[in-house]
Amino acid sequence: MAQTQTPYALLAEFDTPADVMHAAEVIHGKGFTRWDVYTPFPIHGMDAAMGLGNSKVGWFAFVGGVAGYGLGMLMIWWMNAIDYPLIVGGKPMFSPFGAFPPAYELTILFGAFGAILGMMFLNRLPRWYSPLFKSARFAKVTHDKFFIVVESTDPKYSEAEIRRLLELAGSKHIELVEE
């Protein structure tokens, strides 16, 4: 069965967070765009080293929270004051004070869903396949190894040049991952 394998990315392994951070600064400094750092835990300062901006998850949570509060208040007003008014203890049919606790809970509920679904959307998760899973060494990414991956679709991609940069930055093992 003849199959043409196209390279997906160059994968470089590092032993310490300091090494991978230094290498990330180098790759970022050279102006690569389609690349990433893979680590067993979030490394403090890596976002700055990679030149990443502030995550946009906050907006999703904010929209969720506002929607939850607004929907909660509207729902309670419509149900208790419009569609099924019922006199209870001489209380007003609708009062923002009485409606606040459930609307507040809905703010949190929708805000939490906003944060999680926003995070999954921005990360394009779930996605159960990645060419990186083919590399046996990459399985250590959840254990104690650190990786830099430069994808072949990067406009500046050049295997020899990237190999040289990453070796210089202290990578002890570099391999080509196929699509």
Binding site: P42, M50, Y84, E105, I108, T142
Partner: protein, 472 residues
């Protein structure tokens, strides 16, 4: 692979800033995965079965009791006039209060950057979820006709009737269901990177598939971590007001009524402090033996136990203050019904319950002022159980003692629980421990990635993390 990293020379911090490390014995980050995942991957230990079988039997007893209650009616419980809220509501408040420590550890301590939380948050959050499940059973069954429980939710039906949102009981439905949902989401989000750890270590196809499915294809990409950490921080920020609101709303179930002993403005903060107090009691009850049985002493160190004892002491002292203030205000209010309610607590027919509460909740935690007691695991374990007993009596005092003698002496009574009450309560322990033991067996009980991140080896600016000195 070496199980330790070389002990590197680091300029020591000033003496007053020195702290014991969060992971003892210089364990490497690989060791953390091996140790925690090893619990799940190893053979099922004998003690697990010895704990699981009685727990599962207890859960079966719970099922039988609930079935009996549903088929016969609420009359099988001891609730009767004038004490219409009995063990069911006591146990509801007790279980949900226990849950609060898990959220405090996962959310509030996250916002306060208490890095020691990473060692205990996973197990504490699991405790929260299972405790809220136990709690939820009681109000659902207490309504009497459990098959109408869906009327509590705003679902459009042919009846054209909507829930009545001016009642605190309705607020409670929203508070508890949101609490359960958000706690479960928070817990799962925290689990995703660790499920990827389990996936990458899995030796069998079934394990690889099962952990891989729930790991969502997590790769540890830093672009992912960036969004993930933001989402985690926001969840912590949302859970903090949530946990404060849940027990506040539970307390409003009481405070909005006119019953002497219930109608007080101190209830929301007093309930929240009590909830966190009892929750830490339960966290200590679970983790003190577990860290030994699962050999996690290097991750859940004595410093962790020490800090949790201090939180117990602080919240216990707030609770003690609330008891005193409540008594003072009852006298200061000038209302004779209010005064009677409190004097009746201390010297009435249920005085034994009141004094059990006072001893367990105000006196016992005070031993934690002394390091000697905080460092003695046997004493910590016993005190944590006494805290749980005391907090059960607190709810007993609030509910039963307030209700059994209110305005009209002609309708005073004395509440006695039935065997069904007692077996249902014991049954919820069976359910709780069954779920908790299954959690220990199948999921990493320590947040592996989070613990790794607080070691010096994870810090790129620390020599242990590979920093060459002066580079950054």
């Amino acid at each position: 692979m070496a199980s330790t990293v070389p002990d590197l020379k680091v300029a020591p911090p000033p003496r007053e800033l020195e702290r014991e490390p969060l992971v003892a014995n210089n364990r490497s980050i690989g060791w953390i995965s091996d140790r925690v995942a090893g619990i799940v991957e190893g053979k099922t230990p004998m003690w697990w079965w010895m704990a699981f079988i009685p727990s599962a039997l207890g859960a079966a007893v719970l099922g039988a009791m609930l079935l009996y209650q549903i088929s016969v009616g609420v009359g099988v419980w001891g609730n009767q006039h004038p004490v219409m809220w009995g063990w069911d509501i006591i146990n509801f408040v007790w279980w949900i209060g226990i849950g609060h420590a898990g959220t405090l550890i996962s959310a509030i301590l996250c916002l306060l950057r208490q890095r020691w939380r990473t060692a205990v948050n996973r197990a504490a959050e699991a405790m929260t979820i299972f405790a809220v499940m136990c709690a939820g059973i009681y109000p659902a069954l207490h309504v009497g006709r459990v098959w109408f429980d869906w009327w509590l939710f705003p679902i459009p039906t042919a009846n054209a009737i909507w829930p009545q949102f001016r009642s605190p009981l309705m607020w409670d439905v929203f508070a508890v269901s949101t609490y359960f949902t958000v706690s479960a989401l928070f817990w799962y989000v925290g689990l995703v990177p660790d499920l990827a750890v389990m996936r990458d270590r899995a030796r069998t196809k079934i394990r690889k598939f099962a952990y891989g499915l729930f790991a969502l294809g997590w790769t540890g990409s830093n672009r992912h971590w960036s969004n993930y950490e933001k989402a985690y921080l926001i969840l912590a920020g949302l859970s903090t007001p949530l946990v404060l609101s849940v027990h506040s709303i539970v307390s409003l179930d009481f405070a909005v009524s006119q019953v002497p002993g219930w109608h007080t403005t101190i209830f929301p903060p007093y309930f929240v402090a009590g909830a966190i107090f009892s929750g830490f009691g339960m966290v200590l009850t679970l983790l003190v033996p577990l860290r030994q049985m699962l050999k996690l002493e290097d991750i859940i160190t004595m410093r962790h136990i020490d800090l949790m004892c201090k939180v117990t002491l602080a919240t216990g002292s707030i609770v003690a203050y609330a008891y005193g203030m409540e008594f003072f205000i009852a006298w200061y209010s000038g209302s004779e019904y209010e005064r009677f309610a409190f004097i009746n607590r201390a010297i009435g027919p249920y005085a034994w319950g009141y004094w059990a509460m006072i001893i367990c909740n105000t006196i016992v935690p005070q031993i934690f002022w002394f390091k000697r007691f905080r460092n003695n695991l046997a004493i910590v374990f016993i005190a944590s159980i006494l805290v749980n007993i005391g907090m059960w009596f607190e709810r007993f005092v609030i509910i039963v003692i307030s209700l059994h003698r209110d305005y009209l002496p002609s309708s005073w009574g004395y509440f006695i629980p039935t065997p069904v009450d007692i077996l249902t309560y014991l049954g919820t322990f069976g359910m709780f421990f069954t779920l908790f033991l299954l959690f220990l067996r199948f999921l990493p009980m320590i947040a592996i990635s989070e613990v790794k991140a607080v070691t010096p080896q994870a810090d790129p600016h620390h020599p242990a993390g590979g920093a060459k000195g002066g580079h950054h």
